[in-house]
Amino acid sequence: MDKTTKVVDLEKVVIKFAGDSGDGMQLTGSQFTDTSALLGNDLATFPDFPAEIRAPQGTVAGVSGFQIHIGRIDINTPGDIADVLVAMNPAALKANKKSIKKGGTIIVNIDSFTKRDLEKAGYENSPLEDNSFEGYNIIEAPITKLTRETLKDSGLDGKSVGRSKNMFALGIVYWMFNRPMEQTEQFLKKKFEKKPEVVEANIKVMHAGYNFADTIEALPSSYTVLSANLRKGTYRNVMGNQATAWGFLAAAERANKELFLGSYPITPASDILHELAKHKNLGVKTFQAEDEIAGICSAIGASFTGSLAITTTSGPGLALKGEALGLAIMTELPLVVVDVQRGGPSTGLPTKTEQSDLFQALYGRNGESPAVILASSTPANCFDWAYMASKITLEHNTPVVLLSDGYLGNGAEPWNIKSTKDMPSITPNIATEGEEYLPYKRDDRTLSRKLALPGTKGMEHRLGGLEKEDITGNVSYDGDNHEKMCRIREEKINRIANIIPKQEVFGKEKGDLLVVGWGGTHGSLYSAVEKLQKEGLNISLSQFNYINPLPKNTAEILNNFKKIVVCELNNGQFVNYLRMKNQGVIFNQYNKLQGLPFTTSELEDYFKTLLKN
């Protein structure tokens, strides 16, 4: 297309698509994501959808959003606030008033600003007509009308026509950011393979949107974001939950084990179940159990029988799994429990993110029952941490809790595709037929006991939740033995610190302020710290993935800084854990409990204040 409009080159841009939860905003956003990724942009995305599948149409409660941050430079977060907002109705505009940059561009579907639409969103007057959005670049696009006009001869019913509106909006944004439409065309052809009329309609509407944007003078300029300076390699987009599933697949293949998932659907973890259920061809057995408890119990049964066994859940489900996890600790069986955290307590905020369950993972069981705790920190590295969780659990025969969160699980970013051959080897600790077998005899170095799998001749033995006698594994109620076993189970976890890498610091190893984070906050903390470092401030970051045991050099790192601030999306769980483990060290804390990630700007402001005082 011949472009006479000025093209502005941008380093990075944040775009948010918002509409009714039935408006197809997630699909629109993910299409824009895929196209941008293929153009070589670095990116991060964040879907933000309501807990109700279809809240009342047109209301603020029903607004679904998809935010994408693309750039030529390193992108670590989905962006604090949007440069461009697509609002399909007044409710979407209202819900996102705070998430659009002052002076930013807002594309509204003006056809959905009738009196009734405004009332549903709780507006008395149109915010476009008073001065609510003064200074913003508002583009009023008659999306509904033009979509209908485009499809008037298509023969499609009114409902199907209405559903194509999102493609019009996508066309506008494709034009604005100089994106080609081929990728989405291919996608539509595949998705609606059996409905060629739907494919044709959607493509037509997308083109209509694209041409509309090209024609009207309301768009002051179009933008382009050049390819990012990513490392050499083959890339693809991955979402966190998908990467988690793939990490387990890779680990099972490397360990030469069958993968077994026992799970019960729960937001925001279900996508791991969905992803693994697709890959029976790779020998994965997925079992959708009758409840959370049966999910973990079936996994423990499969682990006893020799599978790499996992269970996936979120906070309320982890609470239900607590007793069974204790059994896996007592019987010293491999098991990975994935907790994709969400806002709590109770049902809390199912679709919102929070680092809610660190304490639950560490302490949510009866008795002295230590588990290994790991945390993923980017959508792509969910792959690595699922792999590491599998490696540790199979080699040390002790359960691992892997903490992800809604923000990581649903977020996407480009991934430099790894080869399973490049991952560390995994050697499950299993007795072979013929050797003398004592169920609770241990490896001197790791203190791990060996498994003997049912079906192995001559190694019949009984496991259970009653306290085990050291070495033989027979039931024992002896007090001295119990104390000894409690200490062994603790020490076994502690010794894992011997094999994990040292904790790293981003920035100077010594200095004025150390920012400490764990898990999914990495992107925002890194962005804020990097920016302040560029401004010349003496600030470093240490982001933890190994939570229990902590890396051996943790205390050493902490002692090298004048001030420490631990930032978490909870009320201070990791900071209190660190306080317990590092008596005498003074920690500041920065906590947020809004169901949303940190914004880099709020972090920068807080770090600056800390550095000043």
């Binding site: 293929l38 083959t234 693809r236 890779a250 057995k285 079992f287 049964g301 009984r462 259970g464 009653l466």
Partner: protein, 336 residues
């Protein structure tokens, strides 16, 4: 295959049930039944929950897993799915299976996973010392309801049939021969085999099944059903069952013109569970209690279904390795 005996299935652990407990007879029957299956010892796995009965795996010299309260069906499901070649036995009690574990119990039966469930029904909580259970007779006075329970009891057979169970058998702990026979048939049956064992708790609920098991009444109070045979019982084997309208009736051969031809013939393989449910509900004094294999129908099993899917997917797969999956879909190259 080495010829095994009951000794091969006896572990070195001291059995700690109360003297006189019905569990001893069940354990002995199991240890005698398993060698008759002519399978390797390492292929048996016993999984249990919590309760007196759930100590059972410790006394069997097989692979065993004493798990947590009520959840044994889920563990057993995981074991069977991970290695479908194993012979998996779940040992449970009326509290474990029907109170805390009710949900897992019905779902195992619904899926028809190929495991055997031995339900030790003593109508009382033993290990927690004498509270009423979901099968306790209404009105029973226990520590946790000294004025008598107002709970209606569960009927395990009705639960099993309601959950589309494919195999239901009942036996008393005083009949070791029948126990062995049923254990062997349960193992032969593909799908979830539920065996309700009326088991006497000598401490907290002694003689609760005496109206069925006592020597002086048992011939009149028990009907041992056999597939394809007329349902006859009694000291002179001259009493039998007939259907009168929609109801079962006890009749005597030779009285009121009844001949052996009139007596109902047991068909355990009948898919319609109506008669099976009626038989299983019979209780003295009006009826004899039905023992033996009441229901054994063929229905696809969950494990076979899953395995068939796996095989199909493996053969028709787009990806054979994880690396192929990771590199599938839209990818792009970045030149360094």
């Amino acid at each position: 295959m080495a010829h095994l005996t009951n000794k091969d299935f006896t572990s070195d652990q001291e059995v700690k049930w109360c003297p006189g407990c019905g569990d001893y007879a069940i354990l002995r029957a199991m240890q005698k039944a398993l060698p008759q299956l002519e399978r390797n010892k390492e292929d048996f796995v016993f999984v249990s929950g919590i309760g007196c009965s759930s100590r059972f795996p410790y006394y069997m010299n097989t692979y065993g897993f004493h798990t947590i309260h009520g959840r044994a069906p889920a563990f057993a499901t995981g074991v069977k799915l991970a290695n479908p070649k194993l012979s998996v036995w779940q040992i449970t009690g009326d509290g474990d299976a029907l109170a805390i574990g009710g949900n897992h119990f019905i779902h195992a039966l619904r899926r028809n996973i190929d495991i055997n469930i031995l339900l030790f029904n003593n109508e009382i909580y033993g290990l927690t010392k004498g509270q009423f259970s979901p099968t306790s007779k209404k009105g029973i006075k226990t520590k946790s309801n000294p004025h008598g329970t107002t709970d209606e009891p569960f009927s395990p057979s009705d639960l099993a049939i309601g959950a589309q169970g494919s195999f239901f058998a009942r036996v008393v702990d005083t009949n070791p021969k029948l126990m062995q026979k049923i254990f062997l048939e349960a193992e032969e049956h593909r799908g979830t085999s539920l065996i309700e064992i009326l088991q006497n708790c000598v401490i907290f609920n002694d003689k609760t099944f005496a109206p069925i098991t006592a020597k002086e009444v048992k011939q009149e109070a028990q009907l041992i059903v056999e597939d394809g045979k007329a349902m006859l019982f009694g000291a002179e084997n001259n009493k039998g069952l007939i259907l009168n309208g929609f109801k079962i009736e006890v009749v005597t051969i030779g009285e009121n013109g009844i001949t052996e031809k009139d007596i109902l013939v047991h068909n355990a393989k009948e898919e319609d569970p109506t008669l099976h449910a009626m038989l299983a509900r019979m209780r003295p004094p009006e009826f004899p209690a039905a023992l033996g294999i009441i229901r054994a129908v063929n229905r696809p099993t969950f494990d076979e279904g899953l395995l068939a899917q796996l095989e199909y997917e493996k053969e028709n797969a787009k990806f054979k390795t994880v690396d192929e999956l990771l590199n599938s879909g839209d990818t792009w190259e970045i030149e360094g």
